[in-house]
Symmetry: C2
Subunit: 208 residues, 2 copies
């Protein structure tokens, strides 16, 4: 299939969230315009985004909420549960481990690792923090696909290399340092300090 822009995938993910809300409210169908207004985009954008994957609507009527949400789940790979490990059980790692939003979406935390003896042994939402030395062996048996990396910046790249060597498929990095991974591994970063700097820029250039 043709390459899909990241912005499109991000919006699909948003559409799915709105569809689930609509589903909860008992609505059967939804138009591209309704979907658009929720997500702050346009109806043409919604239709274009969906058109990359097929034709899911009925002209004159809109989309079946149920059908479209299950198609989107399929497209996004949310049909199956994903196994996730957290590396670094510090403040942000602990918050992530206890975040219910991940589990609800089918992301199951199957392992948490740290070096600090103070953290090792702690149970976070039913998962016990283990020594980072056990990480490779666990990954070999668990076959986790995704890692959340929440360790200090200095050790982020070495740990990334270990995760890659252990066969991880994707990494979500929270450390404020850019990481390098081979092309078969998907990497994304959440950089909160950078988000604040973008806000700072906007505040300073408000009327420019």
């Amino acid at each position: 299939m043709k390459h899909i822009a990241e912005s499109t995938v991000r919006r699909l993910s948003l559409y799915l969230r709105f569809l689930e809300e609509f589903e909860a409210h008992g609505h059967q169908t939804i138009s591209s315009g309704e979907l658009a207004s929720q997500g702050g985009t346009t109806s043409a954008q919604v239709r274009k985004d969906l058109s990359f994957f097929g034709s899911f609507g009925k002209r004159g009527l809109g989309y079946s909420v149920n059908d479209l949400s299950s198609r989107l789940r399929e497209i996004l790979g949310l049909g199956r549960p994903w196994k996730v490990v957290i590396v670094g059980a510090g403040k942000i790692g602990a918050a992530l481990a206890q975040y219910r939003g991940f589990r609800e979406r089918g992301f199951r935390i199957v392992g948490i690792y740290d070096v600090d003896p103070q953290s090792i042994g702690l149970a976070l939402d039913g998962v016990t923090v283990r020594d980072q030395r056990d990480m490779e062996a666990d990954l070999a048996s668990l076959h986790a696909e995704i890692a959340l990396l929440s360790v200090p910046a200095e050790v982020a790249q070495p740990l990334t290399d270990r995760l890659v060597a252990a066969g991880i498929g994707a990494i979500l990095n929270f450390a404020s340092t850019p990481l390098h991974v081979p092309p078969h591994v998907t990497l994304r970063s959440v950089n909160m300090a950078l988000e604040l700097e973008i806000l700072s820029y906007a505040l300073v250039n408000r009327d420019a």
Copy 2:
């Protein structure tokens, strides 16, 4: 000035980080190519990004690390300290409150608010969690410019409205719900579940 793309601002922020590392290593000058390789972009991109704001380099030599980093700080509005409040002292809010990376960049946490009596009174990194009912009065006296919103999704919009009414300039939203603000307020969202879904998509479509 012409409108600057968000992607450009994001990269400027990254360049600044690399420049600071270079500075720490005692380097005097840096070329667009070196800056690019750190940030995973191209030298032409670096030069184009900078060219929107002026000519900061010397042909044949590159950029003065010191000059460029102070120019970038100025452009990004990092010359002054920013006053930040955190709304919601739960797991993620507490992690944010204790994160050193913000303070290092000039973002000073001047207030933390919650409803839960269990949280109110707690000191997080020297700042005491206060009752959310005090928020408006505090904002009027503190003049904080930025709010970090880390409350449950259900109350995110009402709290946003209160922050906007109290004169906040920018909001960084961590709740997984889209928020609406008037045009003079800058809003950005960090949506971690959505980031994971993008990874999920990538894993499923690896060889597509």
